[in-house]
Amino acid sequence: MLKIEKNKNDAELTIALEGRLDTNTSPQLEKELKDEIDGVTSLTFDFKALEYISSAGLRVLLSAQKIMNKQGSMKITNVNSEIMEIFEVTGFSDILDIE
């Protein structure tokens, strides 16, 4: 189960996620990003209510980061300790801007 809440303010997009970002739910986020990311210069993910992330979710974050490196910036906020550990184990903490 994944709930996606979007908040767009001109070129600023905030996406708050709730639940699990895994094999079955990641395509939902991928689609939302595909629909919304054009023209966005500041992308923020709010992970406050996100329980966990699997490699399918990491794939979506990686491709978002690649796009945002070309057109602006991306950051991830409110990361819980379990997800932070996954970012560290996979070396994603080095390539993502985590606040």
């Binding site: 699990r20 079955n24 966990y52 490699s55 990686l62 980061q65």
Partner: protein, 150 residues
């Protein structure tokens, strides 16, 4: 011990996760271990669902008639809670293409953004977060066991 046989499809993952989480809740599993196990299930079962039975031509009655569980296109998961030390063994059994995930080379986790690959990252995460992993191919079946002590 509990055993569940599910279709090797992505839709089966939440079903399996629910069953395992229920067992873990009864065993007073700490939340962190539970999350790591749910991620491990997602990684391992999605691999089985995506690749194990990719060789459709082999999907014949011969395999079905062989009698050994699970049938072609299915995966059986054995759930075993452990005491002293406390923990859980999850064993994933499928009859698909032989594949030893432990032989897979670890991904380069220090590569720059542009060169990052996702392939292999899932199993790598499982290796790092589980207490141990074991693979064998026996009697036409892939048998992968992950152990998490908590």
């Amino acid at each position: 011990m509990k055993e569940v046989t599910l279709e090797a499809k992505l839709d089966s993952i939440p079903v399996l996760t629910d069953i395992v989480e229920e067992e873990l809740a009864q065993a007073d599993c700490p939340p962190k271990a539970m999350i790591q196990l749910s991620v491990a299930i997602d990684e391992i079962f999605s691999n089985i669902a995506s690749y194990a039975y990719a060789d459709k031509e082999r999907a014949g009655t011969q395999e079905r008639a062989a009698g050994a569980e699970p049938a072609w296109g299915f995966a059986t998961v054995r759930i075993e809670l452990l005491n002293e030390p406390r923990g859980i063994d999850l064993t994933f059994i499928d009859r698909g293409i032989p594949f030893d995930p432990l032989k897979r080379e670890d991904p380069d986790i220090s590569a720059p953004l542009g060169e990052r690959q996702i392939g292999g990252l899932g199993i790598f995460m499982v290796k790092k977060t589980m207490s141990s992993m074991k693979y064998e191919y026996s009697d036409g079946r892939n048998i992968l066991t992950i152990r998490k002590l908590f």
